[in-house]
């Protein structure tokens, strides 16, 4: 190879090494189109999956480190850092190269805590959360809220992973017009294939990548939205709807025609709250407030919402008119069956039952009379020393289950 041109053999040998140590990223690594560029200082990607490479950087970087850089750059694209940066910037109205540098650093923090090791060498000077005095294992958006440019980041001012990492167009970018770029659909297809490969055989793939693969095309919904959707659709059969029970107001004008009329019959909602020791007050409070807000928004009146606190026995039924401060009584073991039994006895009957629990409870055998939504607090619980293999029973099929918190 003549002087001045890129040592392609070394660059691609590094990619081969990267593929061999991370076979599940092979599709993505091979999909990258390399562009030799003297304007970049190291390696950089754009959002069209081109990888700009500095020949000098290839020359003076050990091959093993180069492989790590390959994986690092492709991670930016797989994790859609440019799209997330754009969304974050639009949401918070952030402008200017300083903010984009911050995004690049935060994105690097997200990648670098679990991408290296196990055959891949960490490149010298790679940003890690530790060097910014931040905890590991968080997302780019979380890191962005925790640091400003300052003494800790001064060493990274040269950092530049390209527009694929932070969304800001660079001088060297070939743009969307270039023939070698991937279209949005092709990018999705590559990301999908990688995610599918990881989901298919998660074996010894790092946790961070497994989480990415599960959420790549189905990002977790905020629980508030899910709970709202569940409660609303549970109520939709019970609330306002048409009935032929009384003639419509329109009937007067069209004799001979039978028309239904709109009648509102607000649903009665009963919330059963698990007050066993394992659920924190803060969690309960936020979930409860959320439910009352949803019920109010869909037209249920507050006097139709009642709350039942329940541990091993059902305690107080209280109508919600007395401010938000609902005294929750209980503690200790849980048996929500007591709560469901109490709802069954209630007069008038509840149309919708919402149960908030951590799931460590037996469930009633029979389906309760109303539609049921279960808000499940999902947290790691310390393993019971006496009974380490204890697993809580899954909520029954007749309930709509939403993971809360």
């Amino acid at each position: 190879m003549t002087a001045g041109t890129m040592d392609e053999e070394k660059l691609f040998a590094a990619r081969l090494h990267a593929v061999r140590s991370r076979p599940y990223l092979a599709t993505a690594l091979f999909a990258l189109h390399t562009v030799e560029s003297r304007q970049v200082s190291t390696m950089a990607v754009d959002r069209h999956w081109r990888c700009y490479v500095s020949p000098a950087f290839v020359d003076h970087t050990p091959l093993a480190e180069l492989a790590g850089v390959w994986v690092h750059e492709v991670s930016h694209l797989l994790r859609d850092h440019h799209g997330r940066s754009d969304r974050f910037a639009a949401q918070h109205e952030l402008t200017g190269p300083g903010e984009r540098l911050r995004m690049n650093i935060a994105a690097d923090c997200e990648i670098n805590d679990d991408v290296f090791g196990d055959g891949l060498v960490r490149p010298e000077g790679a940003v890690r959360p530790v060097s910014l005095r931040l905890p590991e294992g968080q997302l780019m958006e979380d890191y962005l809220r925790q640091f400003r440019l300052g003494p800790y980041t001064a060493g990274y001012a040269w950092l530049d992973c390209g527009s694929g990492a932070d969304g800001l167009e660079r001088d060297w970018d070939l743009g969307s017009g270039g023939a070698t770029g991937l279209s949005p659909r092709e990018r999705d297809a590559v990301r999908f294939r990688v995610a599918q490969g990881i989901n298919g055989s998660p074996g010894d793939i790092p946790k961070g990548w497994q989480r990415w693969a599960q959420e790549a095309f189905h990002p977790p919904q905020p629980w508030r939205e899910l709970l709202g959707a569940a409660v609303r659709s549970a109520m939709s059969g019970a609330g306002e709807d048409y009935t032929y029970g009384r003639p419509s107001r329109r009937s007067a004008g069209v004799p001979g025609v039978v028309m239904p009329s709109l009648r509102r019959r607000p649903p009665r909602v009963c919330v059963i709250v698990d007050t066993s020791g394992s659920v924190s007050d803060a969690e309960l409070g936020s979930a409860l407030l959320e439910i009352t807000a949803i019920v109010r928004a869909v037209g249920g009146r507050r006097d139709l919402v009642s709350v039942l606190s329940c541990d091993a026995a059902a305690h107080v039924t209280q109508e919600l008119c007395h401010a938000e401060g609902i005294p929750l009584v209980g503690g200790g073991g849980t048996d929500l069956r007591a709560g469901f039994a109490k709802v069954r006895q209630g007069n008038p009957r509840a149309d919708v039952i919402v149960a908030l629990t951590d799931g460590h409870t037996p469930w009633p055998e029979a389906r309760p009379p109303g539609r049921t939504v279960v808000g499940l607090f999902s947290r790691q619980r310390p393993v019971d020393g006496d009974n380490p293999h204890y697993r809580p029973e899954a909520p029954p099929a007749w309930a709509r289950v939403v993971t809360v918190g």
């Binding site: 392609e8 053999e9 070394k10 691609f12 040998a13 990619r15 081969l16 090494h17 061999r20 140590s21 092979a26 599709t27 690594l29 091979f30 999909a31 990258l32 189109h33 390399t34 091959l63 093993a64 492989a67 090791g117 196990d118 055959g119 070698t180 991937l182 279209s183 949005p184 659909r185 092709e186 999705d188 297809a189 590559v190 999908f192 294939r193 095309f217 189905h218 919904q221 939205e225 899910l226 709970l227 709202g228 959707a229 569940a230 609303r232 659709s233 939709s236 306002e240 709807d241 048409y242 419509s248 069209v254 001979g256 025609v257 039978v258 028309m259 239904p260 928004a297 037209g299 709509r400």
Partner: protein, 407 residues
């Protein structure tokens, strides 16, 4: 009011009218707009479309343009202010119901549409309609039946809904109704809005269907969908378990048939895969849609047997990951029917790949191909030219060994 002030008042209104006319005077320009193309294709394929979008981002404006481009009269019906009987028909009690029955009279807008014979029916604010209205709409959307009246085939149906987060008192779209629509996320494009406010809106153009390609398009679409579902039977029917996705697209035999139709239409016209991707994902959901598209990508790749038959004239895909798939396919084809001529042809293909693209892609296929050699086959001269790949592979091995020591 005296005469002169009345005249002055009138003049002001005239001038106001002139100003309004000037403001209305906008033009259109052809512009690549994926979501508008997707909408137009689905409408011409006669599939009901549901536009999801925040209020005020121009769904209605897009519909007006679409109607204009298709030269169809537009009828807008706000679903949420109608009663179920407006869609299922009003029972009119006649003289002798026992013998004549009770006819279900259709509303005026339906009669007008049916008489025109063609038109665009726009059902706005679908998600805020009460469940009984949604249930009545099922028949309108699927069977084009409004009471006793059947809408003629020239009628196309488009609906719009606000996403839950912005609907003040939204009802959930029931899964059966959701399954009948092609769901399109309607978002605004900053540039389009700026150009539009400046007086120029993008122009909706009908996809041009190529008569010659119609039979091939149908064959292609059937192969694509059947190929996927034969291999993944679980994808045929999956009611979403997640609460928030129940009102969205999900796979069922009905929505697969819609996807098949969309692929045929996209193949017979010059619509891009990006547009098709939007439509298919909006019909059967993200996961199954992406799998279908991955299948389409594989169908586009050159057939290994064709490549082996003519290695000199072979055109390999530019993209590295696709090239890797093709080369793996070639080696697999040789493994299946090992003959010396095929083995030699595969080597020529690898050399070609090495000369026209990244060298690391060739390493694995070359090693696999070398292992397929029979004792009586001489080493082809072409292998000499693969020495670059060999030394590249050796360097990667050394790096791996180095990393192993450091671990």
């Amino acid at each position: 009011m005296d005469v002169s002030s009345e005249a002055a008042h009138l003049r002001t209104l005239d001038i106001a009218a002139d100003l309004l006319a000037l403001l209305h005077d906008t033009t259109t320009e052809p512009r690549a707009d994926t979501q508008l193309e997707a909408l137009t294709l689905a409408v011409s394929a006669d599939l009901p479309v549901l536009l999801w979008g925040e209020p005020g981002i121009g769904k209605t404006a897009a519909l007006n343009q679409l109607a204009e481009a298709l030269d169809l009269p537009l009828t807008t019906v706000i679903a949420s202010v109608h009663e179920p009987s407006d869609f299922s028909g009003l029972p009119v009690v006649g003289d002798d119901p026992a013998t004549q029955g009770v006819p279900m009279a259709p509303p005026e807008w339906a009669v007008r549409l049916a008489r025109a014979g063609r038109g665009l029916l726009f059902l706005d604010e679908l998600s805020t309609a009460p469940p009984a209205v949604q249930a009545a709409l099922l028949r309108v959307v699927l069977e084009r039946q409004v009471g006793a009246l059947r809408l003629p085939p020239g009628i196309r149906i488009v609906a719009a809904a606000n996403p839950r987060s912005s609907a003040a008192d939204g009802w959930e779209l029931s899964p059966p109704l959701a399954n009948r629509f092609v769901h399109l996320q309607w978002t605004y494009d900053h540039d389009v809005v700026l150009r539009g406010l400046g007086g120029t809106w993008p122009k909706a153009e009908l996809p041009r269907l190529d008569r010659e390609r119609l039979p091939d398009a149908v064959g292609f679409a059937r192969r694509a969908v059947c190929g996927l579902l034969a291999a993944r039977p679980a994808l045929v029917h999956q009611l979403p378990k997640n609460e928030a996705r129940r009102g969205g697209p999900w796979p069922s035999p009905r929505s697969w048939e819609m996807a098949l139709r969309l692929i045929a239409f996209a193949t017979a016209s010059d619509v891009s895969r990006d547009v098709l991707s939007m439509l298919v994902r909006g019909t059967v959901g993200d996961g199954p849609g992406l799998e279908l598209l991955a299948g389409l990508d594989r169908m586009d790749l050159p057939d290994p047997e064709t490549l082996l038959a003519d290695p000199e004239g072979a055109v390999l895909p530019e993209r590295g990951d696709l090239r890797q798939t093709v080369l793996d396919g070639v080696v697999a084809a040789v493994r299946q029917r090992p003959e010396r001529a095929r083995w030699d042809a595969a080597w020529s293909l690898l050399v070609r790949a090495l000369e026209t693209g990244a060298p690391d892609l060739v390493v694995v296929p070359a090693a696999t191909l070398a292992a397929l050699r029979r004792d009586d086959w001489p080493v082809p001269a072409a292998i000499e030219r693969l020495s670059g790949a060999v030394s590249l592979s050796r360097r990667a091995d050394q790096a791996a060994a180095g990393a192993g020591e450091r671990r």
